[in-house]
């Protein structure tokens, strides 16, 4: 019954798994996203996971857990990971947790704007 207010699209191409999250990421939605994304990771065993956050309007520390959990899993299979285009409020919480010391944060859209 419960509307989860989130979701994702993905593309897989030559070892690179691109996942674009959208909506609000909290503990409620992270629980659903986690299962679906992990199924993809187990299936594709990507060399690189690109997590596009440009469509995420809200994220709390459960999102940090979601990101770090996927990072660990991809690393288990020898892959790497990057975060793409977080909006300003999402960047704020990524910075608070010092995520960029562990996972690259790339601004593909910000770069284009300049």
């Amino acid at each position: 019954m419960m509307n989860s207010n989130c979701g994702f699209e993905h593309e897989y191409n030559e070892g690179e798994l691109y996942v674009r999250l959208r909506g609000e990421i909290d503990h409620h939605s992270a629980a659903m996203l986690r299962g679906d994304i992990d199924t993809l990771i187990y299936e594709k065993r990507p060399q690189r996971l690109l997590l596009d956050l440009s469509g995420v309007g809200f994220m709390d520390s459960s999102g940090l857990g979601l990101i770090m959990g996927r990072y660990s899993l991809v690393r288990e299979f020898g892959g790497s990971m990057a975060i793409l285009d977080p909006a300003e409020p999402i960047m704020k919480i990524l910075n608070l947790a010092g995520i960029k010391r562990i996972i690259a944060i790339e601004k593909t859209k910000g770069a284009k704007k300049k």
Binding site: S4, E24, D26, H28, P89
Partner: protein
């Protein structure tokens, strides 16, 4: 004054009770945002408040009532001078060592899916964070934030 710089004059007050279902994380932050809108906060200020509320409510669901369903009591007060006071209270398991729990990266969650950053977010996104807890009795989180004040003369 006890709450540095925050007035104790209450201009408006909302009380909200929700059961500890995870769908109510989104409900709680939307409700608090709707109530705070009367102060005409900046989008970034509202985003901070929503995130802090989400953390406090999620903790009630994930930790306080881990193996059960209980009530979450939220009180929001609009204070004189563009401030808000937000209280999130549960009657769950409580926290044995609050000081340790407030440290960044500290978590008791065994799943590996919690970041241990909840209190750190509340502390950084709000102006004041107070946590009181009694093991077996429950936990109260009290947060204050002042908005820049575009709305004062509206």
């Amino acid at each position: 004054m006890r709450n540095k710089g925050f007035s104790s004059v209450v201009r408006n007050e909302m009380k909200l009770t929700l059961p500890s279902y995870s769908v109510n994380e989104g409900v709680a932050r939307a409700v608090v945002a709707a109530f705070c809108a009367q102060l005409d906060p900046a989008a970034s200020e509202l985003a901070d408040v929503k995130c802090a509320v989400s953390e406090a409510v999620t903790n009630c669901i994930v930790h306080a009532y881990r193996d059960s369903v209980g009530s979450i009591y939220i009180t929001v007060k609009i204070l004189e001078g563009n401030g808000v006071r937000i209280e999130v209270r549960d009657r769950g398991c409580g926290i044995a060592d609050v000081k340790a729990a407030r440290q960044p990266l500290f978590t008791t969650d065994p799943s590996g899916e919690r970041s241990g950053m909840g209190f750190t977010v509340m502390e950084n996104f709000m102006d004041i964070l107070r946590v009181r807890s009694k093991p077996g009795k429950g936990t109260v989180v009290i947060m204050f934030k002042r908005f820049a004040g575009r709305g004062e003369n509206k």
